[in-house]
């Protein structure tokens, strides 16, 4: 059994407008020391998944089902109090927007100290030392002085480092980073990503990195999971996903991004239309309204939900088209357009 195993995770929210199926049957696993990248556009259920793993939906109105096994323990069925005890120590999270995710009225130090003392019965002095230590580890200059600063007195990069310091203060074995760099500059982003890789190596922790930037994922991940409308539509080893993507949505993502490593194209190749609603998820394949190949499935696309099927070693795709058809399209039509022009 892997360190983290998620099986058929469903997270639904009943709302006034109907049931929001934010996550609808997600399955993946992750070993210690490995990194999983989750990509997908806004609202595809990435954050909800990570909050679900941490048990942060409990007590709310969310309906959770499926299984989450962490280090041999099942979390969905576990008591809220038990999961709370695991949070911070066994699993921790870094949030997207460090400014709004840190309490504006407490100093950075206080917030790290608090996180540390929840799980470690130590004096304030000891915890403070530890906090300074952590701040130094994540590369904050003069940590002994900055520990008493308020979040708003930090620059964006420093805030995110402080968030990381807070998340890592109890050496968690699973670290989920939910868009850790989206709010940051490229140069700072690079620093943070480097830092996370270093730290992961140091602690040998399992890392989930959530983003919609394929570049970030490519830098870090061993495995990649592409989400669309609450479902996994492509999952597999990073190389396999990047060099032999098989789902039209993944193709779309690749086509939408102007790339510095290639010659500039005349035009970008966006995906038509807008992301789907999670209440009225399009029937059949959720991507079919935006999929240029939908008609190739002889109507199956709008009626039948395609299964997540393996195409090659550990590479799973959820598409009605046959494997050969997809490979053909990729090799003959998509890849040349993306690479040349």
């Amino acid at each position: 059994m892997s360190f983290l195993e998620v099986k058929d995770l469903k997270i639904h929210f009943p709302t006034d407008d109907g049931l929001v199926k934010s996550v609808d049957g997600l399955t993946f696993d992750l070993e210690r020391g490995k990194t999983l990248g989750i990509v997908g556009e806004s609202g595809s259920g990435k954050s909800v998944t990570s909050l679900g793993i941490l048990g942060l939906h409990k007590g709310g109105r969310a309906h959770l089902s499926g299984e989450i096994w962490l280090d041999g323990e099942e979390l969905i069925g576990a008591s809220a109090e038990h999961v709370r005890g695991l949070r911070g120590k066994k699993m921790a999270m870094i949030f997207q927007d460090p400014l709004s995710s840190m309490h504006p009225y407490y100093t950075v130090g206080q917030q790290i100290i608090e996180a540390y003392r929840i799980h470690n019965d130590v004096s304030k002095q000891v915890a403070r030392k530890h906090a300074i230590d952590m701040l130094g580890r994540v590369g904050i200059p003069e940590p002994a002085r900055r520990v008493d600063s308020y979040p708003h007195e930090f620059s964006g990069g420093m805030r995110q480092r402080a968030m990381i310091a807070m998340a890592l203060s109890c050496d968690p074995e699973l670290l989920i980073a939910d868009e850790p760099t989206t709010a940051l500059d490229v140069t700072v982003q690079a620093q943070i990503l480097d830092l996370m890789v270093d730290l992961q190596r140091e602690f040998n922790s399992a890392l989930i990195i959530i983003t919609h930037d394929l570049g970030v994922v490519a830098e870090l991940s061993d495995d990649i999971l592409v989400m669309y409308a609450g479902k996994c539509i492509e999952y597999g080893p990073a190389d396999s996903i990047f060099y032999r993507p098989e789902h039209p949505y993944t193709w779309g993502l690749l086509g939408s991004m102007p790339r510095l490593d290639r010659e500039p194209t005349e035009r970008l190749l966006p995906i038509k239309g807008s992301p789907p609603s999670l209440i009225n998820v399009p029937p059949g394949c959720a991507f079919h309204p935006r999929c240029p190949y939908a008609e190739r499935t002889q109507g199956k696309a709008n009626t039948e939900v395609p299964a997540l099927a393996e195409t090659e070693g550990g590479h799973l795709v959820r598409c009605h088209m046959s494997r050969d058809e997809r490979r053909g399209l990729w090799e003959n039509e998509i890849k040349p357009v993306l690479e040349t022009q």
Partner: protein, 344 residues
């Protein structure tokens, strides 16, 4: 794509523009210093071209855009639009000129008034400027809506009913209403989803071709800027450190900061991370409150020498149309400072 006309008078000319925000401290509102958000920048924008403005967060890009559109009063310098000095023009006299100079805002969520219908938003320019239209405002608005790829039937809807991309289109429609000559786009796509971003970028390009627009596009995403711009200016801490046409800038960047920026962009190619050598900048962007003296990049620059701390490098032209403010530029054949440094 319409070709920019570099020979003629520039449409917009910015000369030595400065903007210092007073910084007050405590409740006494005592001024303790100034944020030199924009500290003496000059550039020209020619008709039909797209000038990209990149740089890290807080380097003064938005401030530049707001100075040009006179949403802020410059501390010093000059803004010339179509040959007219508008730097100190009163808001009243400026009003008619605003028809020709419009702005697209970064955030499609906050730049549209949530209480106004799409029709009211896109029709606002007509009402504010008192422009008469042939078939009434509604018709004009609906025409523009379809121009940016929205359904004219959305006239009576509210912004929150639209997705981010659609909202940004509404914002674009508003700027297009009065058929401006110059559009300043402040991070027009950075709030959008990857899949939508491309739609909007394409739209901007298409509109430029059709309507003969001139753009100043502000962004921090270097790949987007490369895609859309003819020329690119790189800003660092309130100064332009490098400006060149896109090809030169991306193929042979000269300023170390430009290099660092380019190398920091993550590339969606798992193999690249192994081979690629990334310039790892240390430290954060210094505060614009106390910018480092002389060359502002010297605190983070791996090539910095003594001279960088004392003498400010001018934004000198090192090749045709390629200016850089550095004593020791990369990819350079020869620069005076570098030569001097070698000799010493």
């Amino acid at each position: 794509m319409s070709e920019p006309n570099y020979a003629s008078e520039p449409l917009l000319s910015v000369q030595d523009m400065e903007k210092h925000f007073p910084v007050t401290k405590g409740l006494l509102k005592r001024q303790v210093g100034a944020v030199k958000a924009v500290d003496g920048i000059s550039f020209d924008v020619f008709k039909g071209e797209t000038l990209g403005l990149v740089g890290e967060s807080g380097c003064g890009k938005s401030t530049t855009g707001r100075l040009v559109t006179r949403l802020l009063e410059p501390t010093a310098g000059k803004v010339v639009f179509e040959g007219q000095d508008i730097t100190h023009m009163s808001q009243g006299r400026l009003r008619p000129l605003r028809r020709d100079m419009q702005m697209i805002f970064q955030d499609p969520y906050s730049s549209l008034n949530p209480r106004h219908t799409v029709g009211a938003i896109v029709g606002a320019p007509f009402r504010i400027q008192g422009v008469q239209t042939e078939n009434g405002v509604k018709k004009a608005v609906q025409d523009i809506l379809s121009l940016v790829g929205l359904n004219p039937e959305h006239y009576n809807r509210y912004p929150h009913e639209f997705s981010g991309g659609q909202r940004q289109r509404i914002g674009i429609a508003r700027t297009l209403a009065l058929k401006p000559k110059l559009i300043i786009a402040d991070e027009p796509v950075s709030a959008l989803d990857v899949s939508i971003q491309a739609q909007v970028v394409n739209l901007l390009e298409d509109l430029q071709n059709e309507l003969d627009l001139t753009y100043v596009v502000i962004a921090h995403d270097l790949s987007v800027v490369r895609h859309i711009s003819d020329r690119v200016a790189v800003m660092y801490l309130g100064k332009i450190v490098e400006i060149a046409d896109r090809k030169r800038l991306y193929s042979s960047p000269m300023h170390p900061y430009t290099n660092a920026l380019l190398s920091a962009v993550p590339v969606p190619d798992p193999k690249a991370r192994k081979g690629r050598e990334r310039i790892r900048l240390v430290g954060d962007v210094p505060s614009p409150l106390n910018p480092p003296p002389a060359c502002r990049f010297h605190t983070r620059c791996w090539k910095a020498q003594e001279i960088c701390k004392t003498v400010e490098p001018p934004l000198g032209e090192v090749a045709s149309g390629h200016r850089v403010a550095c004593h020791f530029p990369e990819n350079a054949v020869e620069t005076p400072a570098a030569a001097a440094a070698e000799q010493s």
